[in-house]
């Protein structure tokens, strides 16, 4: 099992903030909007350097999505910033009609996704956002795993023409992917080649999948670990090639089972190569208040849970 050096512990939202700041210098067309959460989204540096290209919309997310859609007419590339809950569920119809159906070049940037938002509790911990967004035609859905990757993804989506949902989070987590990496939308990243089980992870669960890989290695199991940072379009080629080799799969994500990454991979495999698959995800439940670590433990989104599911998947192989 390959080892990955932790460069530092950082929040993915700061990767977004740094990527946006960099974009502000490089691309005149980039503009940003925020619904009263500048500090939480780490947008300060962009705003300081580009006050004329920033629009504070206040606590009015529906309007923010419409204004962003309108800003594209004339060639701008709007990045909206608020929590994942208010970036999706609260404004679904605005996104559906004015952004997705109208195919506008808006980048919906969503922080504090999932359980790791922590103490604020279930009202703010959206676990349905990937499903909501991936169901919309034209929408690209990206969930990077660490600071460096979130920064790279933020910059990459400006070069892609069309609506994008970029999901990241609040807590400081291991930053281990390369600095200044080239982010390719829709391209799964092989982290560890293996033969016994394929672990497909996204977002904060990628690092936990690596931890699980080490535990499995101690048990003599050679896990293949793949970072699926883009949930839509899904890298079907990489996923099918991996399960063709390993014969079973585990998916891991900070999201509901319904509608998430695991759901997408189940569909892919059922249609192309039915394979034993186990899911590490929240099982049809809302979250609650607690520290991020407590919540990940209680809802079963841990390295140990990935190990347990991997063993189960392997046992199901014929």
């Amino acid at each position: 099992m390959k080892t990955f050096e932790i460069q530092n512990i950082k929040d993915t939202r700061s990767g977004f903030g740094e990527g946006l700041h960099e974009l502000g210098k490089q691309n005149e067309r980039v503009v940003a909007l925020c619904a009263d959460l500048i500090g939480s989204l780490k947008m300060d540096a962009f705003i300081k350097d580009n006050p004329n290209r920033f629009f504070q919309v206040g606590i009015a997310e529906a309007n923010m999505m419409g204004v962003a859609a309108g800003l594209t007419i004339g060639g701008h590339i709007p990045f909206t910033g608020t929590f994942a809950n208010f970036s999706t569920g609260r404004v679904y119809d605005q996104i559906r009609q004015s952004i997705a159906y109208s195919n506008k070049n808006v980048k919906i940037c969503a922080s504090h996704a999932g359980l790791t938002l922590g103490e604020d509790g279930a009202t703010h911990q959206i676990l349905e956002d990937i499903g909501l967004m991936k169901m919309l035609p034209n929408m690209v859905v990206i969930n990077p795993c660490d600071f460096n990757q979130t920064k790279a993804a933020t910059m990459a989506i400006a070069d892609y023409e069309g609506p994008v949902y970029l999901r990241f989070g609040r807590p400081a987590v291991p930053n281990f992917t390369p600095v200044d990496q080239n982010f390719e939308i829709g391209k799964a990243l092989m982290l560890n080649e293996g033969t016994d089980v394929s672990i497909f992870a996204t977002g904060h669960l990628v690092w936990k999948a690596i931890e699980a890989g080490h535990i499995l290695a101690e048990k003599g199991i050679n896990a293949e670990i793949i970072n699926i940072h883009t949930i839509k379009p899904l890298d079907a080629t990489a996923i099918l090639a991996s399960v063709a080799k390993t014969g079973c799969a585990v998916t891991a994500e900070e999201h509901q089972m319904n509608g998430g990454l695991g759901d997408s991979i189940c569909q892919l495999l059922a249609l192309n190569n039915p394979t034993p698959l186990e899911m590490v995800a929240v099982n049809d439940s809302f979250g609650e208040s607690g520290t991020p670590d407590q919540l990940m433990e209680k809802y079963g989104l841990t390295a140990d849970a990935i190990v347990e599911k991997a063993l189960k998947a392997i046992a199901r192989k014929k």
Partner: protein
């Protein structure tokens, strides 16, 4: 630029288009379409600087957004009659594989449509964004919106009204079709939007004007006044009094014709009240 006599001829033809379109597919929204025909004729044939060769980014031209997308028949007629596409294409309205969807859409790339609408309450936000884009681009042309009066019940409008004032979006002219009717009855009965809309809008920081949506002198003079009021730090809101179904005698004075198509006899009766001026499609 069409004069008033020409505008009258154009709007009569547009109304014929509307009625024939909804009759052909036995669906669509004739009431509000008829009521807004004069305004859209004036907008596309006199008021706006626009280019029918159509560029999505609308650089160096005025932009129009239809927020109450259900009056798509009159929008399509205005676009076709002003050269965005062939008038013969109006016959495809609401049919399979048509670019003329039930509600306006960009997905089929119909020239003249820059944003889908139909789910109500989104047009003012979009227009405010497009108006800000014009400012960023140093483009001094204007952004126009037409919205329904029942539509103002959608909360997003009020977010957009606040936003446009706060950000001094003073290159934006919103016209509300004040016909007093919505699907379930009069707006005052369904959900009192208030006789005091003017006071509400003023309290939100908008400059408010009034016009008679069935009088071209009033439309042209008011829109000229609105243009002259742009660039002064305030967005502009025009309360346009119209009659749903105007001027077809049996369609006026009720909400009944909001979303109902005429039968053969009703169509013949309605068309007999509207001179064919530019040739039916």
């Amino acid at each position: 630029m069409a004069n008033i006599e020409q505008l009258q001829a154009i709007s009569s033809q547009m109304r014929r288009d509307v009625l024939r379109m909804v009759h052909a597919v036995k669906s669509g929204h004739p009431g509000g379409s008829l009521g807004c025909a004069d305004f859209l004729a004036a907008l596309y044939f006199h008021i706006m600087k626009h280019n029918p060769s159509f560029d999505m980014d609308a650089k160096e031209e005025d932009v129009f957004f239809l927020s109450n997308g259900h009056i798509s028949p009159v929008f399509y007629s205005a676009l076709a009659r002003s050269g965005y596409f062939e008038v013969s294409e109006l016959s495809t309205f609401r049919k399979l594989n048509s670019r003329l969807q039930g509600h306006p859409a960009t997905a089929e790339h119909l020239p003249g449509i820059r944003m889908a609408s139909g789910s109500l309450g989104q047009g003012v936000s979009v227009a405010a964004g497009a108006a800000l884009a014009k400012k960023l681009n140093g483009d001094t042309n204007l952004v126009y919106v037409l919205m329904g009066d029942g539509e103002i019940q959608e909360g997003q409008n009020w977010e957009a009204f606040m936003f446009a004032t706060h950000h001094k979006v003073d290159n934006l002219i919103v016209t509300i079709d004040f016909n007093g009717q919505q699907i379930d009855g009069s707006t005052q009965k369904v959900m009192g939007i208030g006789a005091d809309i003017e006071d509400k809008m003023k309290a939100f920081g908008w400059k408010v004007l009034h016009m008679d949506g069935h009088n071209f002198e009033s439309i042209l003079a008011t829109m000229e006044e609105a243009k002259n009021a742009t660039g002064k730090g305030q967005p502009i809101f025009i309360m346009m009094k119209t009659e749903m179904g105007y001027p077809v005698d049996f369609m006026m004075g009720s909400h009944k014709w909001h979303g109902v198509s005429p039968n053969d006899a009703e169509l013949a009766n309605a068309l007999s009240q509207l001179p064919e001026t530019l040739g039916d499609y």
